[in-house]
Symmetry: C2
Subunit: 659 residues, 2 copies
Amino acid sequence: MPRTVSDGGEDFDDDVSSRTGSSHHRTDSIQHGYKVGFPPKKGLLAEFSDAVKETFFADDPLREYKDQPRSKKLWLSLQHVFPVLDWGRHYTFGKFKGDFVAGLTIASLCIPQDIGYAKLAFLPPHIGLYSSFVPPLIYALMGSSRDIAIGPVAVVSLLLGTLLQDEIDPVKNPLEYSRLAFTATFFAGITQAMLGFFRLGFIIEFLSHAAIVGFMAGAAITIALQQLKGFLGIVHFTKKSDIISVMESVWGNVHHGWNWQTMLIGASFLAFLLATKYIAKKNKKLFWVSAIAPLTSVIISTFCVYITRADKHGVAIVKDIKQGINPPSLHLIYWSGPYLMKGFRIGVVAGMVGLTEAIAIGRTFASMKDYQIDGNKEMVALGTMNIVGSMTSCYVATGSFSRSAVNYMAGCKTAVSNVVMAIVVMLTLLLITPLFKYTPNAILASIIINAVVGLVDYESAYLIWKVDKMDFVACLGAFFGVIFASVEYGLLIAVAISLAKILLQVTRPRTALLGNLPRTFIYRNVEQYPEATKVPGVLIVRVDSAIYFTNSNYVKERILRWLRDEEEQQQEQKLSKTEFLIVELSPVTDIDTSGIHALEELLKALEKRKIQLILANPGPAVIQKLRSANFTELIGEDNIFMSVGDAVKKFAPKSAENV
Amino acid sequence: MPRTVSDGGEDFDDDVSSRTGSSHHRTDSIQHGYKVGFPPKKGLLAEFSDAVKETFFADDPLREYKDQPRSKKLWLSLQHVFPVLDWGRHYTFGKFKGDFVAGLTIASLCIPQDIGYAKLAFLPPHIGLYSSFVPPLIYALMGSSRDIAIGPVAVVSLLLGTLLQDEIDPVKNPLEYSRLAFTATFFAGITQAMLGFFRLGFIIEFLSHAAIVGFMAGAAITIALQQLKGFLGIVHFTKKSDIISVMESVWGNVHHGWNWQTMLIGASFLAFLLATKYIAKKNKKLFWVSAIAPLTSVIISTFCVYITRADKHGVAIVKDIKQGINPPSLHLIYWSGPYLMKGFRIGVVAGMVGLTEAIAIGRTFASMKDYQIDGNKEMVALGTMNIVGSMTSCYVATGSFSRSAVNYMAGCKTAVSNVVMAIVVMLTLLLITPLFKYTPNAILASIIINAVVGLVDYESAYLIWKVDKMDFVACLGAFFGVIFASVEYGLLIAVAISLAKILLQVTRPRTALLGNLPRTFIYRNVEQYPEATKVPGVLIVRVDSAIYFTNSNYVKERILRWLRDEEEQQQEQKLSKTEFLIVELSPVTDIDTSGIHALEELLKALEKRKIQLILANPGPAVIQKLRSANFTELIGEDNIFMSVGDAVKKFAPKSAENV
């Protein structure tokens, strides 16, 4: 049916052109003079520096420095290292009010947690408190997150305890044990700072989300199980952390090891804590109820124990906490000997795990309040804080998820809330540690159980199950690794699973068969769009990944298999034979010599079968490399098109019209 | 200008539709009722088995078994393990003629090479010959390559020698040394067979082409340098393999260690061998000249030494070669003790390197003659051959590149040429080994130098330089690692570089800014197509990789950086503000929970800036996962389009018309 159109004179369209049915009206990208574009050739140095920049400076940290006088540059550099110089200038009393309340809230949370976490790492309780004093102050100077709450955390404490205990017995050699802990803390800091300084922060992204969810849940359950010691008042408890050893230890102590007074205290306060948590979840405004509940529990239970002298009846208490602030510990770090390397190894692992948690927290809250976090800068801050910490009797500190959430909800504005918390902890250390003497261990166990419950992220696990079954298997692997073997094995499984996933991703890219959507020029995956029809005599395959040495053979063989499948079908249905094989390269962002070699082999294999190989829409890097390697000459520049449509139009003009 | 077209009634086009300028004439994919396709929902088991199949059975080895009776299936399985049952049935005398000539030719090449390579591995010469007898016979039964020539090779011998020598001194404890060698060979075979059996063959593809080129060239030069001992007749030679130690050893022996008679023999025959190689290169028909030159040299030089009794004048000779065929060696393998683990470790490394070489050879010749090689099956064959070899006094055998090329050029048709070679080697072992007594070591050195020259693939290195500078750095790294440190370090560097490249590839995917090609509906990378123009108020970014946990944060931040750059430009040039951000997902083949989380954060960040996020052309896996995670609801299904064109048309109709 003829019809009239009133445009600028021509029909335009995407890849191929309007299909008006009469050729003299057709206009297409070829007629417009568009050919496969070659990006401008870069010099050797420019090419190299671009690659380095895109890899290591993807966030372009130097953009501010552009076109600035030297003094300004110096000031910017100082600000870069100490962000406090930037935000400190705009600090107001209004902000301080928010920070003050938030700081007090997280201090009330962190004091009992610190004591419990130090026990988890087999360290004396005051070292846990020390670690909530110095590191937050350093972080406040150098860190760029406004919401993170710094201090000891459960998972790192568990990991550190497990690893250190393998080397030195914390009961027999407490001094050597804490020396090794400081050594590990020092190297954890060095690891973190170096990763940031050399902009290698992306290394921590090699842990997949699924593996982390599984690992965290496993660690939470392991930590909770460890608390059964304090919760049930068991004296002779296993040193292993796997669920089977712990349960054996628990049941083995049923008749003579459980202490009912301890259990009563633990159970009633755990119920109280969980109740306040539930209330806070239901009504966000009441979050402060759950925030101050731990300290309230500590005060009440300590008072009760003191009044009733329950410690005489077998209720284990904290006993002595050393009074006074952090003594220096630089001289305690092992600078030589066999423990140097052991401390280094443990530090690297603990540092990386700590980093993963802190960066995740930083990013989450930054995106909630819409500000930018520079991951590498953040790592330098965390690393410095742990290095200084290791010299002032602290163990590995990082960002705590539960306390950061409370910090955020209590209305913190800047890192000053961490300073407030540190001052409260300092005052506690100086003045009121003797009061903790009668605090029952059971209450600390309840507080820790209550804190780690939140690490079991079953909602994420369910989401992973819905989105990708394979990922869920990975998640379960890490989870069971932690609870049935140990936290180290779980971590190892998590890393191995994550790496395997990366490697599978690059060796087994997807390919798709494309078909034409009837009455359009769109070519789409026939599996996704069942209405897409194949073009007779033409096989269109899209490769969905860069072609590198890892997958070049696979890609070649997979394409040949598509062809073989197609030919079988043609024989069965007596269709016309394939004469052209179009490889759609739009998603192929890069190619290396192995990839070019695979294309050459594909070309040869197709030539033997009298099939013409055609490439569609190669990207800038690909076309440049194909030309450098003379592949464009080998295949003929006429066989490289800007789009599948162009190619189909040239080689199967009839089917292009009759669809 | 109005015009008349006479088609089926409508204009059709790719992504958006014809742009006729008057809207009532427009038809587009939306009007045709095409929406983003959802692939049919698969069951849990189907999804899982599909993923496993695509990963491990990409070549679909079971296709032949489909719809076959049981007896036929059994027969096919036997054929699968022993391809000889298949090709053996069609074997003709015509083929045998080709195989016979080729077999004789490679036998003449391999006999002197075997003796030399065994020396390189610090093993007695007859073990080299043994390794050219049993393994080729096993391969002929199980292998599927028609052109590969099996036996000891230079690089594996060097590697094995270096690794074994670190554990046991071959001069002081020759028996223990060869026992460890058999143990390593056994585990090399186990490694190869297991990788094939569990279809993990893709693991060897983690060595990048560039790293292999550098490693091979370095190994070739190291091997050639090692030959200076025999070539110059030096008695006290360094045990290290790095270039500095070797050159020191060579110069240190200038005055008293060099033997002029040895040098005369070595130099003249090396010149002869290189000349024949040159002739063969110039005239392919004369390849046999270079093929028989080594054996000819051995015969002539042995005769000369025997006549002149040059061995009395300091010309080192082979001396005794044990007569008779392979004795069993199963009882010599270390089944327990500390050497078990050492043998295992060395075997795994040697087995992988051997595999890399053999598979590369198999693939190269298969593509030249256009037949298929199943990599995993091939690995099982190579592994079995080495396991049997380790029990019959052989050391690690694999495919030799130089001999395979000669085999191919001599007209081999099947693996029978390996059988012919094995029989010739057997006859040599039984009858004529005593004749090798007077063969000068210098001639073996010349033959090995001549053989490894071909491993320095400077053409590939130049191609790598042209195609990718970073790859060239990797190539150089492996090369210098081998020649300045050791073959182990070189290998380690090669693996590390290859892995780093893979990891960078997945953490730093490319993104591109798209623009509209004027007067079409094509959207292309503005860097590649400078004529492409931006659509006012709309920013179009394409992500060129699957979005996984490794890169999800990078992708999110890179997109925000594109936006920031754009906004700066808008401020400078006072252009209209960006209102829509279209993310083109065509190349994004998959997404995981981290990726979806990153998209959610991107959505939030954009909402704060009052910019609408729009997704274009998500693939089947992506759209399914976005829906599972309820992201489609979050963004609104109206904001997901089948193409960029559709989206631009809806949100910026004016600019879509006025381009």
